[in-house]
């Protein structure tokens, strides 16, 4: 089992969500985060130019069986990219075990 963590643009979330659904990935958690990065946005307030060093993004945490790892990653990359600096990142890590709280079952079937 793998955990796939994707930090994507908020504006791309609907597209990524739909694309993941189309390939059978329907379960994940997400939340809004603030981060530091390379993206520069020009802001002006009362005559003073400033760039926000903090950037708003959406963080997805998806746990899947090993056979879904490749398709999940390629789907996110295809639907989440714009080509501009600041499209985000995907991190992959191993998951030791998974449980369903309702029934107490464990193992790969709990991820379907």
């Amino acid at each position: 089992m793998k955990k796939i963590e994707a930090i994507i643009r908020k504006s791309k979330f609907q597209e990524v969500k739909t694309a993941l659904h189309d390939v059978g990935v329907n379960f994940f958690s997400y939340w809004d985060v603030t981060g530091l990065g390379n993206e520069q946005e020009g802001h002006v307030y009362r005559g003073i130019s400033y760039s926000t060093s903090s950037i708003q993004r959406r963080y997805l945490s998806i746990v899947v069986n090993d056979n879904f790892e490749k398709i999940t990653i390629s789907t996110i990359i295809k639907s989440g990219a714009t080509g501009d600096i600041g499209d985000g990142k995907i991190f992959v890590s191993d998951i030791n075990q998974s449980y369903r709280i309702r029934t107490g079952e464990k193992g790969g079937e709990t991820l379907n």
Binding site: Y45, R46, G47, S49, Y50
Partner: protein, 405 residues
Amino acid sequence: MEIFTINNVWMMICTALVFFMHLGFGFLEIGLTRKKNTINILFKNIFIITVGLLLYSLAGFNLMYPDFNETSLGFLGFAGWGIAPPENGLTQSYADAGYTWWTDFLFQGMFAATAATIVSGAVAERIKILPFMIFTIIYVGIVYPIAGSWDWGGGFLEQREVPFYDFAGSTLVHSVGGWAAIVAVYLLGSRIGKFVNGKSRAIPGHNIPIATAGVLILWLGWFGFNGGSVLSANPVTTSLVLVTTCISAATGGVTAAFITFFKDKNLDLTMFLNGILGGLVGITAGADVMSPMDAVLIGGISGAIIVFAVSLIDKICLDDPVGAIAVHLFCGVWGTLAVGIFGGLAGKDQLITQLVGIVSYAIICISSSFIIFFVLKKTIGIRVSVKEEIEGLDLHEHGINAYHE
């Protein structure tokens, strides 16, 4: 009797409109500052309107309208403690059937608190609440009324051969607040993080919609501020005053927005809003003696002044989060001078008198506010600790967050 009633009703409506401006000030100040200081700002504003009014009833009104006798120099007079109408106070003979003594007191009382409100915006986010309250009590309680007595109270500025003219308070209210604001900001210092390595940094406000609401409420309040300064419901004067007031406001806003766009390539709403206020302050000294075209010019110049004043104040490393100094001091002085340049009273002698007035008020306001803040700074301190400033005044001075989740 009917005219007396009609006049008094209009004056009471205007009293209510000026009162309502305190909501406008509150909204504007919290909108342009950070969420963590919202309760502190509102507390200061509520304090000002309540305590200010009580002080005005205790002594302020009678300090401001002391009924100088002919021999007096016209600097300082006192008509007694508390509020009690004189013998003719409730009759038509009191004010040419314009209003009763009660209305006079309350209408003027609503103006008095404004002087401290102007300061509260400039010192936001880092002033300690106790010294601010002490400043308010002394400045609104004593300085504002004494200064006001020099003109509206029949004092030496009114007694000049060419009397000083401030129709609704560009000098008596707005510059009085403005001088204290610049002194306070100078002694207080800037917010942590505002000036870094000599460069100014932006600290954006947390609620632009509420700041906008504040400015529109202030504009509405000005219908009473200027409309009521006619001191009757005279249809000719009041309707002209409302027109010049609104035209100056609109022109001030548009000019400030246009110049800001030209200067920064940015459609900055907060500068548009400040420009409107600048136009309102600018017309306030002479709304009843200006034509609509005069109002356009006065408002336009006010709008331009706003943009350059905000920039200048920033350049000399003074931190004014809401632009109070630009709006009330710079445009207050400009509006006062404009009476000598445009409109029915224009002329060299009037311009000289206006200058004398401006300088007189500068002297009393700068010196009194400097003494008050300096003494407070050296005794109890006027600035919150670094920890308090960073974590927010709401939590530390008031024990609660404004937007409790």
